[in-house]
Each structure stands twice: as structure tokens, then as C-alpha cells.
């Protein structure tokens, strides 16, 4: 078929994505170099690096960057480790396996805003929550999760949402594992742990890499859970970059500084992606 027709078929997608990428990004770059506050229209003079300076010296900046990274790493570790363990556990047939699978998968389909509301109110509320009731029944003081461990609470909510995804991917991958190889290893006297360590884990290398990649895309941009549950507080204790920029742009109306922040988020995503792809590629695809 003619080259021109294949190009024509691709053109709509390519053009749309190009516009979707370039227009907003170049606007962000432009806004980041001018004074632009929605409360003071008409004073949009060029200010050079000032917006970046403001953003980086904002008291919320360092907490936001570290919270973003802590959130990313904690959720990745929790979901991958527990995900591998759980998928190995439910791999072999047992009574009601399919129901267990359906139950395990469900949190992944709960929308982030609902997720945050269930946990914030019905689980973590220090007076009427389930956790408070459990710790009181056991004779402990109830914990005010959202004020005492705000970031930890957010990590819990987000992990709860993404653990099912990891389990589902790993379970799918385990089904393609070579059973003859496992049986041969068993014949040779390998223990369950050895089989898990030297056959199952290497078999899961690629799925683990995939899970890390996909989750990273979504985890760097966690927003709704924080918006609904802690509002970034107390102080900046659970503010991540996404929330800090939202705060600058739509609550303080400072578009210039928010744009500088947005560019910083893009930069951070690229750095993380770069290291992640290298680390994942190095350690796992052997």
C-alpha cells in the first residue's frame, strides 16, 4: 500500500497527541517566565527565573518533593513485595479460589475519591472508625491516623488501591510458569523456598518491571486521595508536588509560580523514569 495512505491513517492520532503535548507544555514554559497572578491581571512582565526561585524557596517545596518520593517508593515496595507473596499464595487451587480472586481485585476498581472517603471516615476516624474500635477493644488508645500519620495514611490508601493490580499481574504471569521445571526441581530435592527464590522470582522479573513502570506513572501524580483526605496537611506533612502545584495555581491564583512548579514536576518525572528504567533493566532482565 502507498506510504501516503498509511501516513494519512496515522495523521489524526499523531497530530492530536503532538498538539496535546506541545501546546500546554510550551504555555507552561512561557507562563513560568512571566509574572502571572489571576488576582492581578495585566501585569504580565517578564521575570526570568524568579518564579522558579519562589517555588524552590517555598516552605512547602522540600516536604513536597520528599513526600512525593517517599510515597512513590513506599507504595512500590508494599505492592510489589506483598503482591508477589499473595500471588504465590493464591496460585495453587484451593476452595473458593475464584471468589478470593474477585475479592482481592476489587479495590482496584474503587475510584480514588471514594477510596479516600472510606478510609478517612469509616476506617481511620479516631472516635467512630473501625481501627479506633479495634484498638480500644484491645485496650489501647485509639490513634488519630490522619493527623498523627498523615503521609502514612495516604500511603496505606494508595497501596490498598494498587496492591490488587500487582497481584492480578503476577497471578497472570505465574500461570505461564513452567510446571515441569518446578517438578524437576522438586525431584532433585529443592525446598519450596528454593523453588520460589530461584524459579518463581526470576520468572516474575519482567512482570515486576512492568508493574513498577505502570505504577510509577500513576503514583507520581497521586492527587485525589490527598485532596479528599488530608488536604495536604497538617502543615505540609502530606503535601506532594501535585498537590503543592494545585495549591499555588487554583487556591493562590499564582499561575507563574505554579507553572514553574509544573515544569519541576515534569523534570522530576523524567529523572525518576530515567533511573527507574535503568535500575529495572539492569537488575531484572538478566
Amino acid at each position: 500500500m502507498k506510504r501516503s495512505i498509511t501516513r494519512l491513517l496515522m495523521a489524526p492520532s499523531v497530530i492530536l497527541l503532538l498538539v496535546w503535548m506541545i501546546v500546554p507544555l510550551s504555555m507552561t514554559i512561557y507562563f513560568s517566565t512571566i509574572r502571572f497572578n489571576l488576582l492581578y491581571p495585566g501585569q504580565n512582565n517578564f521575570v526570568g527565573w524568579m518564579n522558579f526561585e519562589f517555588f524552590i524557596t517555598d516552605p512547602g517545596f522540600i516536604p513536597a518533593v520528599s513526600n512525593t518520593l517517599i510515597l512513590l517508593l513506599s507504595v512500590l515496595i508494599v505492592t510489589v513485595v506483598l503482591g508477589v507473596a499473595l500471588s504465590a499464595l493464591i496460585d495453587k487451587p484451593f476452595f473458593g479460589q475464584n471468589i478470593v480472586r474477585v475479592l482481592l481485585i476489587s479495590p482496584f476498581f474503587i475510584m480514588p475519591t471514594v477510596n479516600a472517603l472510606i478510609w478517612k471516615n469509616m476506617m481511620m476516624n479516631p472516635v467512630y472508625g473501625i481501627f479506633a474500635w479495634i484498638s480500644q477493644s484491645l485496650g489501647f488508645e485509639p490513634i488519630d491516623w490522619l493527623s498523627d500519620f498523615p503521609l502514612g495514611s495516604v500511603i496505606m490508601m494508595v497501596s490498598w488501591q494498587w496492591l490488587p493490580f500487582a497481584v492480578l499481574v503476577f497471578v497472570t504471569a505465574l500461570q505461564s510458569q513452567d510446571t515441569e521445571q518446578k517438578e524437576a526441581a522438586q525431584m532433585d530435592g529443592a525446598t519450596g523456598w528454593h523453588i520460589f527464590r530461584y524459579l518463581t522470582i526470576p520468572h516474575l522479573a519482567r512482570p515486576i518491571a512492568v508493574v513498577i513502570m505502570i505504577e510509577t506513572i500513576f503514583l507520581l501524580a497521586v492527587f485525589a486521595e490527598i485532596f479528599v483526605s488530608t488536604g495536604g496537611g497538617p502543615g505540609y506533612d502530606s503535601t506532594n508536588l501535585a498537590y503543592l502545584i494545585y495549591n499555588q495555581a487554583l487556591l493562590q491564583y499564582d499561575v507563574g509560580v505554579a507553572s514553574a512548579g509544573g515544569l519541576f514536576a515534569v523534570l522530576l518525572a523524567n529523572i525518576v523514569a530515567f533511573f527507574l528504567i535503568r535500575a529495572v533493566g539492569k537488575n531484572l532482565t538478566v
Binding site: 500500500m1 475479592l103 482496584f108 475510584m111 467512630y128 499481574v169 512492568v210 501524580a221 495555581a249
Partner: protein
């Protein structure tokens, strides 16, 4: 104990553990579900009540207070609409890349995926301002446009990997019989890949239904889908957990049930077919 008995015991214990963990992880959803049938007093009772006379009042109040049906309609229109449009745009592109790959096809695919790496918050301000200037703030049209573009790369990837697996001979035979590219797509490729297109569409619908960043930032009362409507229940105007649960149950039930039926396809989609 014989070896057989030992094995049986092991299976039993693994099963027990699996059930325990699954029930713990499912508990918040279960609790949300049953709380939606309680009165407000039962909802905050300590110790928590498990047995009670169920009431449907909460659901009526949710509809009345926040016009559930209006927001559900927004969710349906934005997720189905954007999925349909994205599929229409993506099918020709995926078809051309899968059946007539050029030197740059791989680069183009990777570039498309890389647009997903761009954090949404980096372009929040321009998108907000553009939407405002085009009058698309708090409109379904605006949300449909954003959702379409947001999921287009994933949809193209998924369709590409399905199309690539189709037998090339059939297409060649069709071409010999004088089929135009249009005929080829409509009469050969689409019928052969109904399953793939369906699961691509499902994944896109789930992602749109649960999307919260753009819907929270770009909509208010008029175009707010369920994700944004639910967020309005976070304001601390009292403990309305039963109503909150009813609203949440209504918002999640369709997509959770939907997800149960096509979990496997959804995962294959989200991992771009890398895990089979």
C-alpha cells in the same frame, strides 16, 4: 501423617490464609456497602453493628441532595463518549502501524507512550486557562476531549498489539480480491479483532470512570462526574456516613461489577500485553 495428608493440610492452610487476607482487603468495600443500608445512628455506633434492619432511605437522600442521576449521566457520557471517539481515531493508526510498519513505527509508538509520562499537574494551568477561554470549563465536552487525549496512547498501543497478532494472509487475500483499505478495516480487521477492541474499550472506560485529577479541577456542579460529586461529601458538615456510603456504593458499583467480569483483559491491556 502420610505425604498425601500432609499435602492436603498444606492446601487447607494456604486456602485459609488466602481467604483471610482477601476478606481483610475487601472489608472496606463490604463495610461501605452495608453502611449504606444503615441509619446515621447505626453507621457511627460503637461497637459497629453488623445486624440491623436495612433501610433504603439513604439512596433517596443522595439522589435528592446531590442529584446522583445527573452526575452518573455525566460519568456515563464522558467515559463512553471519549472511549468511542478515541477508538475511532486509534483504529486507523494502529491498523497502519501494525500492518504497514515503517522504520519509524517503533519510535512513534514509544513517543506516544512517553506522552503518558508527562505528569498532568505539569500542564494543569494551561489546560485550565484554555478550557476557560474556550468556554469548556465545567462542560462535558471539555472533559470528553481531555479523556480522549489522555487515553489515546494506551488505546493505540493495545490495538496495535492485537492487530499485530492477526494472520497477515487473510489481509493479503482480501487485497488480491481488490479490497480498498477502508474495506480491509471494516470487513476484515474489525470483525477479526472484536475481542481486542472490546477489552481496549473496557479498560478505557474504567480509567475514565475513575479519573479524578481533571474532573476535580475542571468541573463544578454542571459537568461533574461521580468522582467529583463524591468529593463534595468530604466537607465536614457533620457525620453523614450512611449517606456517604450510599453515594459511594452507587458511584462504584457499576464499575466494580464491570471489572469483575473482565479483570483479565483489563490487566493485559494495562500491561500492554507484556504479561500474558
Amino acid at each position: 501423617m502420610t505425604l498425601n495428608q500432609q499435602r492436603k493440610l498444606k492446601t487447607f492452610i494456604t486456602g485459609l490464609f488466602s481467604w483471610l487476607i482477601a476478606l481483610v482487603l475487601f472489608f472496606p468495600i463490604f463495610w461501605m456497602f452495608i453502611t449504606s443500608f444503615k441509619t446515621e445512628l447505626q453507621a457511627i455506633a460503637i461497637p459497629p453493628t453488623l445486624f440491623f434492619e436495612p433501610t433504603l432511605d439513604n439512596f433517596a437522600v443522595v439522589q435528592e441532595r446531590s442529584n446522583y442521576l445527573h452526575h452518573a449521566m455525566n460519568s456515563v457520557i464522558t467515559s463512553f463518549g471519549s472511549t468511542l471517539i478515541a477508538l475511532i481515531i486509534a483504529v486507523p493508526a494502529a491498523y497502519s502501524m501494525a500492518f504497514f510498519p515503517g522504520k519509524k513505527t517503533k519510535d512513534i509508538l514509544l513517543w506516544m507512550l512517553s506522552t503518558k509520562m508527562l505528569p498532568a499537574v505539569g500542564v494543569l494551568v494551561p489546560i485550565y486557562i484554555l478550557s476557560r477561554d474556550f468556554g469548556l470549563l465545567d462542560s462535558r465536552t471539555g472533559l470528553v476531549i481531555i479523556f480522549t487525549l489522555m487515553n489515546l496512547p494506551i488505546i493505540i498501543w493495545m490495538l496495535f498489539s492485537y492487530f499485530k497478532d492477526l494472520p497477515k494472509e487473510i489481509l493479503e487475500a482480501a487485497r488480491m480480491d481488490g479490497a480498498t483499505p477502508w474495506d480491509e478495516i471494516v470487513k476484515v480487521v474489525l470483525p477479526l479483532s472484536v475481542g481486542g477492541i472490546a477489552s481496549t474499550g473496557l479498560l478505557s472506560i474504567v480509567l475514565c470512570w475513575n479519573e479524578a485529577f481533571w474532573s476535580l479541577n475542571l468541573t463544578a456542579s454542571e459537568a461533574a462526574p461521580l468522582t467529583a460529586m463524591i468529593a463534595s461529601y468530604s466537607s465536614p458538615e457533620g457525620l453523614f456516613w450512611a449517606k456517604l456510603s450510599a453515594a459511594s456504593t452507587l458511584a462504584c458499583a457499576p464499575i466494580v461489577v464491570f471489572g469483575w467480569f473482565c479483570q483479565k483483559q483489563l490487566v493485559q491491556g494495562l500491561t500492554f500485553g507484556a504479561v500474558k
